[in-house]
Symmetry: D2
Subunit: 412 residues, 4 copies
């Protein structure tokens, strides 16, 4: 602090729907919040709403560190250097970790500049590094644990640009209600209608609908409803945990979910054992597919997935009993398996699971639309806080919500 | 503490289903928790489940005050003196307050002993005093503000006995699932089915179904569903506040609820004004009934209530805008009006309102069954904590739940 | 719909910090959302962050009704007609209601144009009308029920302009953390420090700190902490209900709160009666002040208020037992009494009460800063949703939070 | 249904505090709920509260299956056959699964009858099987995945008896307030005092205090408080996940937690990268211990654990970034590691984590007392619903609660 500091300066540009998307205000706010100053050098406001705007901003900070902080913060809002250079890489010195100064990815569409050309980054995913191919022609996101020694990993922000979804198009497209804050007091029929429409549109576009489901889907009585969506081709991939699958199979075998009768709603102590006996039965048979093949498992979500060749990924967690043979107990292996099913996904429906919703939200690129339904406002808020701008949160109860959704879908 | 104390003793008896209803265990626990000791002098356990049991307990305490505390606590569990006397009264010395030592009522069926006869207390309600008629032949509950100077008010617990519902019959009657703790993870179709059955049974018995509704019923899109229940004779009296009625009428006049379109779910700022304009319109017309008569109000919950002569009580609260002319702004007058509608009520459905649910829960006798539906577990728990043993709590979302309920009711 | 429509046009201007406050983006978004179109006729972006910006926008709509809707929505964001006229008024034809077309107030600073002069509106409050004095020199907000026949009431938006707080100054002033979304996962020491600083600053400025408290303040054990804040001059006015006051007095008289011992935390059934006996005792004495004078009430929040001449307003609600004599049972009278205490208030601390927080939030002008502390995220969100932009929400537990606040305040 | 059924009968006995612990009422209720009938053949009620009671009940059911259901449900309440036999075992036919009809363990103290002797089951844990040693002298709980082919696994309930904690002693021991339902409206100072006393008592008894912590402990600002508890010897083992450890280390390295400054509470976008950079830094160093040794990690919870040789188990989950090298990514391996640290644990403090709290609750025997603190009532209820009768739930905010706890502990 003793040494006199000289202001440092950088010029950035932004293009697109930067006013009505709030991107420019956010950038200006960020500069001020971090103690910097701005000067608008050039401003071209789209006169009509379809015209993109563009702005050139001079950012001044007191120290290089402060300037770095500002640039880091405004970068994901689409502010890029006015004077682009090629991106820089460092070789990974050890496996399973990035070199110092690595570039930290967002889930927004991103480009890197290689030999003067802007190239799309593949496998876009947040909180990864970016690996540039050996021949310097392509780049893709890579998780920390996927790094091999010698990999060329992007460092710094030079030669990168991101495209926040807001800048590319006005937001009222997939979800009319997307602007709404999280609240349990919204008209539910509207949410149901929009999600049904999004699922049909996704199906019509030849893209996959992904379902991410928690055990309350079964507890509240929604298993058969979900099974019908699988049967009728409205779900193309299922992510869940040991609990969802076990409760679903328990219902098929015993008519109970965690020992609570789905018919009369009464909990029973012995019923609690159904849970463990269900897992044991499936383990003895060798797995869910074998149980279907043996004619033991004859209904429910997992049954329909097997029957209709819908891939499912069951990810383990430390609270699991058993688990079922198909459960992937290593969490890195489970993440890898989930990643393999993301390409081609156009819509993701998350119901009643905090753990899996956040896990999947971490993996999805920003252009996959997500609807997250949970009875707890805290869960919905948590997911939306994690930078998943593509997410619409709905505070509602699993079974009644799914029931209304199935009715709406079947309207044709 | 210096003076030596001599143990004091009282003998109490209990009769009925005191074991499987948990009443005897609660009594023994209460004696110990308050530092007393018990001696089971006589015990007659019903051998079979239909046989009532009876027990005579000697309660010993160190001081009269401690003994009083014990007797006060075990009294509502049905423990009565083994040696009953007539009840005692004191004249109210000032209006609007009870004399010191007044008996504090529960919502359980209660009897008082007058001239050697056990007489049922009328207008049973919790947290009231008991007024004995001038001729000493009858008794009824009276709220504090209803006391006139000179009224004979019951003092002490002598000559009183209460009949906890648990002691009178096994609990699995109206609600099979009543034993369940509050949880969002119960099968919802069961709850819906049971409530629909209770409503039909109440209607068939010629008793009234009371609805207590909060504004989220309208926000979530359930107004037309409730309106259909009114139209079809499944609701005989409505308790609500200014907000429910205003939002319902706003929807009828503008198609919005607090400015949110029920059609496309989008909030609008001008829409917010709809709320105030609605109230102003109704005030200008003189009231809801006049608005219906004038052909201005043509649909919704309030419209159907007016059309079908369903009485409604709209109680004011300090957060009210306006309010509507029918809103009773004095809360004591509002309580009095609600009390007037309770006789003849056989079932009460509370949806999405903490304030009104607790207010009504305070007024209902313990034998009126209640279903309380709210998306917040805290609200449901709060109501069930307030001694409303007749209440079943359901954590669910207003509109989808009511939708399922209406479907179930209409199944016939 | 058959008749051909001709586009209608209006020109509006905005001035101030309209970019980084998000006001301009909101206005453009509103125009598009309502089906209108905009053309930026002139734009003057402040080059540096301290420079205000100004913009002139041509708004085009398909119908006059659509244009009205747009103007209504963008008006509270500070968009005013480019060609101002004097405001218009209508005489109230009946008491207790506004004339048709009345202007609906916000809680933002507002001016009306009277004889060519812009005049500040007094008693600024949301959801009111604006009454212009008989001599046409002054204007003030008036609630619907305050209207007398013949009052000159503002109609339409012509000749009015509002100043959203965001446009007047950047937001990082009172609360550094104000930008944060509602979350229980924020560093609590920061929130505590900021609120303590705001309370001290308010006190130093000779303004009042208002406390709005719910009964959980007492249940969780915070009564003595609040009492110490009253004693030490950090609370100048208290708004609460019958429950807060009764529980506080119950604790002073019996050591319990709703029958739960504050010493050992055990609930007792007899203790439940303490609640009613407390109210009865105070009613017999004539009121809280009389109880203090009689030496019966010797500690607690209400005691300190009486001792230090801190005014308190106890507002009735339909779930009240009793109530205490000081409770205002008519809700319009209670609102009037609350309004009387708002002038001079610089800071408002709301803890653990949804009902009173929303009621007070309805009455406060937008320039009074508010901190709302509640353990339920839903309550905090609900208050912040109601247009109270001056509010910071903190999800935390009443007693531990107040304890930390008192410690921080007493640090000096 | 066509074949005539003959009632089947079994005689069971219960001993201990079966009345005031509610065990006998629960058993009678269970018999009736499942359609059975009971006849009390002999009843010996302890006259005074210290006397155990005993009862012999004839249970009658319509079918052997119904009888089995009844016996299964009443068994965990301490009802055992009046005519005990040795327990029966089956050899495991395949590894990783129990033989059909296996006995499903509870977390209560359990004995099995081997050669006429009642023997304590070791490693008591719920939802396991029971393995009998090759020489038939000892038995222990074994999870499904721990079964090897040929293991002798207990089948059926014959020759087993469980000792519910309620039957062994009255409940008011560790936690005075244990009987209280989950509520945020309890006096918090009492909870704090009781937990502090339990921790001191555990330490004095030479037993371990186990802490199970979620990331909100760090977000809310409680890391240094927990660190001081580790430093001062009040925590002997730590269970957590990647997030808690990463946020704690992030705070030590950057002063932020998930990018939110713990000093001024402001979130920053770049700060979000701190999370990933923290993990990368520790991975590059080889682990947390190496980071401490290298002088890079110099404060916080993990630092103090390393410095004071407090073992920690970091369990992986599918939402993990990185993870840190010490994180056990296979969930079965993580469970095994947690199990290894349970013996010797006398008290368990769970704060702000649903996932880990439930996982640990699954592993603990019923005699280890647990306090579960979370700001969400749903989390606390969920844990208490899972049969963890030893758990006291406290709805409160992490940092303020821990701050009060540390103050109370340090009072000496």
């Amino acid at each position: 602090m003793a040494a006199p500091t000289r202001p440092v300066v950088e010029h950035v540009v932004m293009t697109g729907h930067i006013i009505d998307s709030l991107l420019l205000p956010k950038v200006l706010d960020a500069i001020l919040s971090r103690g910097g100053r701005y000067h608008i050098e050039q401003f071209d406001l789209g006169e009509k709403q379809d015209d993109p705007s563009s702005v050139r901003i001079q950012v001044t900070a007191d120290t290089p560190a402060q300037l770095d902080g500002i640039i880091a913060e405004i970068h994901p809002h689409g502010a890029v250097s006015a004077d682009p250079k090629d991106c820089a890489t460092s070789p990974a010195d050890i496996p399973g970790a990035f070199p110092d100064g690595f570039y930290c990815s967002t889930n927004f569409r991103t480009q890197v500049r290689l030999s003067g050309e802007w190239v799309d980054v593949e496998d876009q995913e947040m909180d990864c590094g970016i690996l540039v191919d050996a021949d310097g022609k392509a780049a893709r996101c890579v998780p920390m644990t996927g790094v091999r020694a010698g990999d060329r990993i992007l460092v710094g922000r030079a030669g990168t640009r991101v495209f926040p979804p807001e800048a590319e198009a006005r937001k009222h497209n997939l979800f009319e209600f997307m602007a709404s804050p999280v609240s349990s007091e919204r008209p539910k029929a509207v949410s149901v209608r929009e999600i049904a429409a999004a699922m049909k549109r996704t199906k019509a576009a030849g893209e996959k609908v992904m379902a991410v489901l928690g055990p309350a889907v079964v507890h509240t009585g929604g298993a058969e409803l979900v099974a019908s969506m699988v049967r009728n081709g409205f779900i193309q991939v299922l992510f869940a945990g040991n609990a969802l699958a076990t409760h679903d199979i328990e219902q098929a075998l015993y008519g109970t979910s965690l020992g609570v009768s789905l018919d009369h709603g009464l909990p029973t102590d012995e019923g609690h054992e159904h849970h463990l006996r269900t897992i044991n039965t499936i383990r003895r048979l060798g797995g869910i597919k074998q149980a279907v093949a043996a004619g033991i498992l004859k209904s429910g979500i997992m049954y329909e997935c097997v029957k209709h060749n819908i891939p499912f990924v069951l990810c383990g967690s430390i609270r699991d009993d058993g688990p079922l043979p198909e459960v992937i107990t290593d969490i890195l292996a489970a993440q890898t398996e989930m990643r393999a099913h993301i390409p081609g996904t156009g819509f993701c429906l998350m119901v009643a699971t905090t753990l899996h919703s956040i896990a999947v939200g971490n993996l999805l690129p920003a252009w996959v639309k997500v609807a997250c339904v949970d009875i707890s406002p805290a869960t919905v808020t948590k997911l939306m806080d994690r930078g998943s701008t593509q997410t619409v949160g709905i505070v509602s109860d699993a079974e009644p919500f799914i029931r209304a959704l199935v009715t709406e879908i079947e309207k044709g």
